[in-house]
Point group: C2
Chain length 305, copies 2
């Protein structure tokens, strides 16, 4: 089995167009006339990204929201999506279509086209392409962080993790934690407001620690994160308690789709966000818990296989 990183390394050998950003960024950035198009394609697979018994409307929601989150990280306004769909069970497909209509309506995004194939009894794999227009130039990237910058996240972390565990254990699926897992919010408004003054920005799809490390690598600098500063929701704390362990877990789990960004220390934020660390000289990730250095966990976040 080829790993994702090995395959992408092969593709990187010929994906030399600057718009591809070395296949290292959340989305491609294509200059068209006076406009700057942002385009991304993300897939979701049964038994990898969603369970066979998941609500199809939730799958539709997450497929759209996770793609729009990549546009949010570029400060883009979404235009529309194209769907790659595997036809299967009639009820599932209809429920998916109804959920797709709902999530596209929620974000005011058009369905522009796509294609279908029959799934012939295999596990479903769905793809979505999302198009947007950058509201600001230069378009934020993962690179660009500067020593002295403060590292921020929007919202709270760990809720999707807790929601996944609750759903997995058969608990009520309609609470805020389950919602965080099933129906993540793409931070489009925040991304558009932040784009003009961030030095670097990305969405947290695989976990704060692994995504912060990617930002550090792309920026060729180090990032220090203080676990004591990680924003947790009351629901998360009530479910997992507030401990070093629960903070570490909230920081190493994906699916939050919050924005992670670096801004100068004297910048006045125009969105709600929490300072969780800072950009330092050197490289890689350093973890603290208040004044105390903390060893990096063996797994920083979700690694694609």
């Amino acid at each position: 089995m080829t790993t994702e990183s090995a395959f992408i390394n092969i593709l990187r050998g010929f994906a030399k167009d600057p718009a591809a950003r070395g296949l290292l960024d959340d989305a491609a950035v294509v200059e068209i006339g006076d406009s700057c198009l942002i385009i991304t394609h993300d897939m979701m697979a049964e038994d990898v990204h969603f369970k066979s018994n998941a609500n199809p409307a939730d799958v539709a929601w997450k497929l759209v929201a996770s793609n729009l989150s990549d546009l949010a990280a570029k400060g883009a306004s979404p235009i529309g999506v194209l769907l790659g769909f595997m036809l299967g069970d009639d009820d599932w497909d209809r429920a998916f279509a109804a959920g797709l209509e709902k999530v596209l309506g929620h974000y005011g995004v058009a369905l522009l086209g796509g294609d279908t194939v029959s799934n012939r009894g295999d596990k479903r794999a769905l793809g979505l392409t999302a198009l947007g227009i950058a509201a600001n130039r230069p378009v934020p990237s993962r690179a660009g962080a500067q020593v002295g910058d403060i590292l921020y996240v929007t919202g709270t972390l760990g809720d999707a993790l807790a929601g996944f565990e609750l759903i997995d254990a058969g608990f009520d699926e309609v609470g805020p934690l389950a919602d965080a897992f099933n129906r993540p919010q793409a931070r489009l408004a925040e991304g558009q407001k932040l784009a003009p003054f961030v030095h670097a920005m990305m969405d947290i799809s695989d976990g704060l620690l692994i995504d912060a490390e990617r930002m550090a690598t792309a920026s060729r600098l180090g990032i220090e994160i203080d676990l004591a500063c990680i924003p947790l929701s009351p629901a998360y704390v009530s479910y997992r308690t507030d401990s070093l362990e629960s903070r570490m877990q909230a920081a190493s789990w994906g699916d939050d789709y919050e924005l992670l960004f670096c801004a100068p220390a004297d910048a006045r934020l125009n969105v709600d966000a929490t300072a969780v660390g800072r950009v330092i000289a050197g490289g890689g990730l350093t973890l603290r818990n208040g004044d105390e250095l903390v060893k990096l966990p063996p797994t920083l976040g979700y690694q694609h296989h």
Copy 2:
């Protein structure tokens, strides 16, 4: 199992943006500033569009060419593609990547991004999104044919059918017929030249008869095709003979990816193409063989399930 047409009918209920063209066209047409973006997403599935033992480089070629063919039908210049890929066997994946590099190099198209998932032993389903810029306004569509227009096709028809049969029977895979099936050509140059003066244009992906019927329906007129005029290659004739039956088969088989277009009777063509029929009042498809009316076959072309 939901049929493709039933599912697309549901989607059509909310895909109301004009750019989506009612999900009836080969590609979406998005106005961005002064530019007109053409975007399409087509999938290919193992055992539906390609065999498990197909050459992975051929699969890559066809995935790209079939998407670029949709851009060709819009008279667009391609910009780049995004790949949705199922990771599996290492050798297959590497051969696919090498083929992808080759076909993108052939067309001068950039790989901009995409996503991968592991295929967990399932049959492969691959998706490609292709982006282009329209060279001409208005952008050609399937609608717009006018009574008295001549119907043309580029190239020859049926070669992909013959190639498929030869490959299926275990014959040599490197002949021109096998190439027509494995490595179709997207008619990009022809599409760009034709766009300024055609009344309607599309690519023949599912078969001349079914696609001409779609053009007739979209244009709310009738189309009459003369089977005696259908362009056949020497290789096709040598393999299948030249008979009414072999002409009917060449006209009802997909995968040719030639352009089908209507132009005024007095238009001077600026590309090589063959007149195969004309646009008439009424609706639907009428078939002739010279002076003789011919009954429509039970299946006009490839119907997606």
